[in-house]
Symmetry: C2
Subunit: 290 residues, 2 copies
């Protein structure tokens, strides 16, 4: 490994994953730590420490995928639904603390960047990605480029006046409220009893997952009717683990909801697994270092 | 009027409106004829005749807004719900018959182009437009440019498993099924009795329109969470007439559904009225002639 190497950092609601990424998008040394949730200060310190831990000589830039809204002009994070981070001048803070150029984008955008660059959507000119994890996010590739706008795909309305959304979101019936790992946990408790989780539903191949797939199909239907992508990629911890069990009911609903012929759009599982955020953050940093 | 002048043609389900448009988007001579519905051949001949009727010396290109899906690579029209036109190599046919460069796009896209170019969204870098008429359509401006993709905004899912959509669409609870003029007609019958129409609801300022506004707010919430536009423009025959009566409940729901601070996005009525399609078709042609 020489030449362009960068650090990618995937900040999630439960863990921080940091690693060294080379110019081909390959992952080298990585570290993983629980996300400090007690305060914004602790969270930022945890990120700086993770970068320091993996940093090797010759690293030229650092990219962060963050589960927050981002204002790219200022490098500031807006509200974050699941982590203690709001209105921080994140990019300049990190550039100062780390001493390297820093690129940031939201976690779902970086995952989509990774999947479109070196993953399941490699070569596709248009793609919609949905990440089903603690929350639900997404990214959109249009004309071969990642759409760097808002793209809060977890907050499309699927079931108006439906169940309340998560965290600070005041919406109802959002995709995130219906298809996140947390939503699946709640479904698991209902189906299997107290203490059960989404993981148990997947392990038992429980039919309750068809309900999640049904909601997911409606969300995909909306996005397909807007973007008519070449493919839809499903990622995130829960989405990846449950993919095969969600797909049949999701596919059935996409066929019903999507305008012809978009209902036949391929729906595939993310190829990069838990590394998508890390790799995408690295690709962001590589753009800076190029 | 000199320099760049073009012809814009708005092909609707009931009439063809053609006119000369100057470089500022101003409309000059226009003609209006009923849309020939007896055959595809008659329809195409009617369009050629309308162009010939308004054509003046120095016209450099012709733009058409068509109520059909369009394949921009080939210039071919796909399915058309309300007119006898399907799978026609429209652009090359017209270029040959008229002897000028021809641009085409679907009717909702050209209306959005007009509103963003010289109408309610003038100067906006990003805009979502929804046209509520017989059906529901829409257009999206991203980074100052009209998104020329699929953008079937009337077919986003608002209420999963809700009422069946219109025409050939097999979806349920789509924006079009809930907020079109036809949907409002059905609501009018429910609220006022047999024979009542959306027009009566508007005239009586009937509270049932708050239900349409509620659905509309959910649809806008979805689009705002994806695109975070500078403004949302509501057009179309029903949308324009009912705008003030839909707005209070739509605004309330957008505030609830949209991620902060996008819930405060301005929601305004279209400025160009029935000329939006004509002007947008002219702007398409001006792009060609530039």
């Amino acid at each position: 490994m020489d030449g362009n190497r960068v650090i990618g950092v995937d900040l999630g609601g439960t863990k921080i994953l940091a690693g060294v990424i080379d110019a081909e998008g390959h992952v080298h040394e990585t570290v993983e730590h629980p996300t400090p949730m007690e305060s914004e200060e602790a969270l930022l310190a945890g990120l700086v420490a993770a970068v320091a831990e993996v940093r090797v000589e010759g690293v030229r830039a650092v990219g962060f995928g963050i589960p927050s809204q981002i204002d790219q002009r200022t490098g500031t994070t807006g509200r974050s639904v699941n982590i203690p981070l709001a209105n921080v001048a994140f990019r300049s803070f990190m550039e100062e603390r780390i001493g390297l150029p820093v690129a940031i984008d939201n976690d779902a955008n970086v995952a989509a960047l990774a999947e479109s660059g070196v993953g399941a959507g490699h070569g596709a000119k248009s793609m919609v990605m949905l990440t089903l994890g603690t929350g639900v996010g997404g990214g959109i590739v249009i004309d071969g480029r990642l759409y760097r706008g808002w793209a809060e795909l977890g907050h499309i309305v699927v079931d108006e006046d439906g169940p309340p959304c998560q965290g600070n979101c005041t919406g109802r019936g959002h995709l995130e409220a219906l298809c996140s790992g947390i939503a699946a946990d709640a479904l698991a408790v209902e189906a299997l009893g107290p203490g059960a989780t989404a993981h148990d539903l997947v392990e038992k191949r429980h039919e309750a997952l068809a309900i999640v797939g049904h909601h997911l199909g409606n969300g995909i239907g909306t996005l397909v009717n807007i973007f008519n992508p070449e493919l839809v990629v499903i990622g995130g911890g829960f989405g990846t683990a449950a993919f095969e069990l969600l797909l049949p009911s999701a596919r059935e609903i996409v066929r019903r909801e999507a305008l012809w012929p978009a209902g036949d759009v391929p729906i595939v599982v993310a190829a990069l697994g838990n590394d998508a955020g890390l790799i995408g953050a690295g690709l962001l940093a590589l753009e800076l270092a190029a």
